[in-house]
């Protein structure tokens, strides 16, 4: 019982300090805050008005006036990226939210119940998986009309089976553990065990999957926008900027470079943030006081 005496309970202060000592959390937080700030600022101000087309300024390389250059309509790329961040982030976040919100409970339910319910849910899952996601999203938006909202729903639906699978696989690995058996011996039902024991232990998995799906969400939105079924012009989106840029890649590489970097940075930031958060809240990673 050597270490019994010196233990002190953790205060909020300690948690904050530990968070600040976690490198990936801090870097991730900074990047994410920067992107969020950019999106917020774009509500009030952008360097140029993107609805005004200045043909004389078309295809300008980056300069002191247009930091990120201009596109083939003479619009300022920096302004478009700022405006587009709103769209891209919102679509991806809500789509991940839909996927998690429905997929995780389904997966946990399947794992807890087992038997034919599990079998039925997972086969249904396979069915959704069997359709190419983007194609089906195109179908949905084609039926219900193009627009950001429908794009979000379409992408979200195809996130559900992904999260359901990950949650079920994670939960299945936790269920046979002895501490679950102990909880059952203490008379706790499956719902309570799932909330108290299963979810905290698979949160890591879900966070990582969440960041991956976020990145895929941005790309899916880009794809939908490309065929004209996502956000409607003149509202820019990162995805459409990328696709617009590919035809002029050789003459104006900056058109693809900057939106690409924006997507990369956002995903990287969220990834690091998710990693950091799961580290901070894992009691095993805590240093002994």
């Amino acid at each position: 019982m050597s270490d019994a005496a010196q233990h002190k309970p953790e205060t909020l202060n300690d948690v904050v300090w530990r968070a600040l000592a976690n490198r990936s959390f801090v870097i991730g937080l900074l990047i994410t805050l920067a992107v969020a700030a950019m999106a917020l600022v774009s509500f009030f101000w952008t360097p140029f008005d993107v609805t005004r087309l200045v043909v004389a300024d078309r295809m300008q390389p980056p300069s002191s006036t247009h930091w990120f250059g201009t596109d083939h309509f003479g619009r300022d790329v920096l302004s478009m990226i700022m405006l587009g961040s709103r769209n891209s982030i919102a679509v991806a976040l809500v789509a991940v939210g839909i996927g998690m919100g429905i997929g995780v409970p389904l997966g946990c339910w399947a794992a807890a119940r087992g038997g034919w319910i599990d079998e039925a849910l997972m086969r249904l899952n396979d069915l959704v998986f069997a359709f190419p996601a983007l194609l089906s999203a195109v179908m949905i938006t084609a039926v219900f009309g193009p627009g950001a909202i429908n794009a979000i729903i379409a992408i979200g639906i195809f996130n559900i089976p992904v999260f359901a699978r990950v949650a079920r696989a994670g939960a299945l690995a936790i269920w046979p553990r002895e501490y679950i058996l102990a909880a059952r011996a203490a008379g706790k039902g499956p719902a309570r065990i799932t909330v108290e024991h299963i979810l905290p232990n698979i949160a890591n998995l879900l966070l990582v999957q969440g960041t991956i799906q976020f990145a895929l969400g941005i790309l899916a939105e880009a794809g939908l926008s490309y065929v004209g079924l996502g956000a409607q012009p003149p509202m820019p989106s990162w995805g459409r900027m990328l696709f617009d840029a590919q035809t002029v890649m050789v003459v104006a590489p900056w058109l693809a470079l900057f939106p690409g970097c924006a997507i990369l940075l956002t995903v990287l930031g969220l990834n690091l943030l998710g990693d950091g958060i799961s580290d901070i809240f894992d009691p095993r990673a805590r240093r002994r006081p």
Binding site: H7, E178, L181, A186, G187, H197, P200, N201, P283
Partner: protein, 541 residues
């Protein structure tokens, strides 16, 4: 001239000194026992000999093997040594083999690598060595996969891999700890024979003094990274000059002082009444259309327990003891038969009706690492069964109850906000017991509660069980394959074999005069320190 000599070996990882000035030498053909509790540096010594220590480790001293300076050898030289002149067998047969490769491939792999033999030649040699370790080709062809073998058979494959090239030194790190006593005896016999046949040296690492005494010519005792004593096995242990040696020997023979519980056990009321319980599991389907064959895990078992009684359920692994325990705990339903706990048939009770029996019936598991949710604090973990109470305790009451349970198992208030990883194995087992007794149950089912613990810790935990039985009148059902535990702490014993109870009666009588084959096998295979020392002394004159 010794085959292996270790001089003043020190090993540091970060600021932690893992080994301090360890000296050890093994002559050709000699069996050296390396004994110590967990964390004493036994495994690290073995890894240092193979030069497989973690890269962050800083090593000082000298290790000479067959005239080669190991610490100065290049990685290439070591690769030639490992698996050829030095073989190693690990503790866990479940994870030591690659699940996607056949046993033939895994045994032949080393042969081909070291001798540049052709595939056919290597397979031929693999077949021979597998046959030698008791896996003849007719029954166990080279094309078997590890998952098709039992734990004992897998350990034989691991030994075959290690011995395929007739190494000069075999290192066996707790090779039998994960096996039941009967399998343990078989594997030990096999190792002994292989040593004698090939004049192989063996470094036998174990925490179990009785096993080491049976195996080793000489013994080295490690404690916190330094050697406390070394010498001839029997002499060292029977003289027990060093206080730590004496402490270890006493702990492994420890029998807790037991007093009768403060409870009237003579009344007519039975605490537990299991009648003709059978449990079938669906087996593997032979074809798409045939019904799967059923596997009978528990077969027509009946038993009764009185309040405050202490009963052992012993048997080999896979005999159905744990399945029976789960049914008693109402975690699994029997295929047929009834289980009555204090008069209520729990096999037919609804979840709501089960609240009362659940409160009075708790469980302690074998693995002190796996039985706690790593993300909860001790307070929350131990309070888990409290929600079975009819009246929910408020925060303060709950805390008080947890503190009292902690006190009862010898832990204190400052442990409340810790997480399970902050405790040692023995402490976790105390936590596990605290969780089991917090609702003041009438029956605790303990599934191999001490087999994962060191001998001295095991002695403490057994004492704790005995004391709680006396103080709180808790009845125990101990499930174990270890007869020393059964002898130490129970009055009655039930011997289970292939799903049936084959023998029952007073523990002392049954284990002294076993009448069935199954019990006899268990009793004769069980390592016993007294007997082992006596035999060794006789052999050595």
């Amino acid at each position: 001239m010794s085959l292996l000599s270790i001089e003043k070996l020190s090993l540091k990882i970060g600021n932690l000194s893992v080994l301090k000035d360890v000296d050890l030498s093994i002559a050709p053909g000699e069996v050296m026992g390396l004994v110590g509790e967990s964390g004493s540096g036994k495994s690290m010594t073995a890894l240092a000999i193979m030069q497989l220590t973690p890269t962050s480790a800083r090593i000082k001293g000298r290790i000479a093997f067959n005239g080669i300076d190991i610490l100065g050898a290049t990685e290439q030289q070591m690769c030639a040594l490992r698996g050829d002149d030095i073989g190693m067998v690990f503790q866990e047969p479940m994870t030591a083999l690659n699940p996607v490769k056949t046993i033939g491939e895994q045994v032949a792999e080393g042969i081909r690598w070291h001798t540049r033999a052709s595939r056919a030649e290597a397979e031929d040699r693999a077949r021979k060595i597998l046959d030698r370790v008791g896996l003849p080709d007719q029954k166990f062809p080279l094309t078997r996969y590890p998952h098709e073998l039992s734990g004992g058979q897998r350990q034989r494959v691991a030994i075959a891999i290690a011995c395929a090239l007739k190494p000069k030194l075999l290192i066996a790190d707790e090779p039998t700890t994960a096996l039941d006593v009967v399998l343990q005896a078989q594997i030990l016999d096999l190792l002994r024979e292989l040593v004698a046949e090939n004049r192989m040296s063996l470094l036998f690492i174990s925490h179990d003094l009785a096993v080491v005494t049976e195996m080793a010519d000489r013994i080295t005792i490690l404690r916190q990274g330094s050697v406390t004593e070394t010498g001839e096995t029997a002499r060292t242990l029977s003289d027990a000059n060093h206080p730590y040696t004496r402490q270890l020997a006493l702990a492994s023979m420890h029998v807790p002082a037991r007093a009768a519980p403060h409870i009237d056990a003579s009344g007519p009321d039975l605490l537990l009444d299991v009648a003709n319980v059978t449990r079938d599991y669906p087996g593997r389907r032979k074809s798409l259309f045939s019904k799967p064959e059923t596997v009978r895990a528990v077969d027509d078992v009946s038993l009764t327990m009185r309040p405050g009684a202490s009963v052992a359920l012993v048997g080999r692994s896979g005999c159905g003891k744990s399945t029976l325990a789960r049914m008693i705990l109402a975690l699994d339903k029997p295929t047929s038969g009834t289980i009555k706990f204090r008069g209520l048939d729990i096999t037919r009770a609804t979840d709501d009706e089960l609240r009362r029996p659940r409160r009075n019936m708790q469980v302690v598991f074998q693995d002190p690492y796996g039985s706690f949710d790593p993300r909860h604090t001790v307070e929350r973990l131990i309070a888990e069964p409290l929600h079975l109470l009819d009246r929910k305790p408020d925060r303060k009451e709950r805390r008080d109850m947890v503190v009292r349970a902690l006190h009862e198992v010898g832990l204190n208030r400052s442990d409340l906000d810790k997480y399970p990883h902050e405790f040692s194995g023995g402490q976790r087992q105390r936590l596990s017991i605290a969780r089991a007794i917090i609702t003041r149950p009438k029956l605790v089912v303990a599934d191999e509660p001490v087999s994962a613990l060191d001998v001295s810790i095991r002695a403490q935990i057994l004492d704790l069980f005995a004391a709680l039985n006396h103080r709180l009148g808790i009845a125990y059902l101990f499930i174990t394959h270890d007869l020393t535990v059964a002898r130490a702490i129970t009055d009655d014993v039930l011997v289970m074999h292939e799903g049936r109870i084959v023998e029952r009666g007073k523990t002392t009588e049954v284990l002294a005069n076993p009448s069935t084959k199954a019990t006899q096998a268990l009793v004769s295979a069980a390592p016993d320190l007294h007997r082992a020392i006596a035999r060794k002394l006789q052999e050595q004159g």
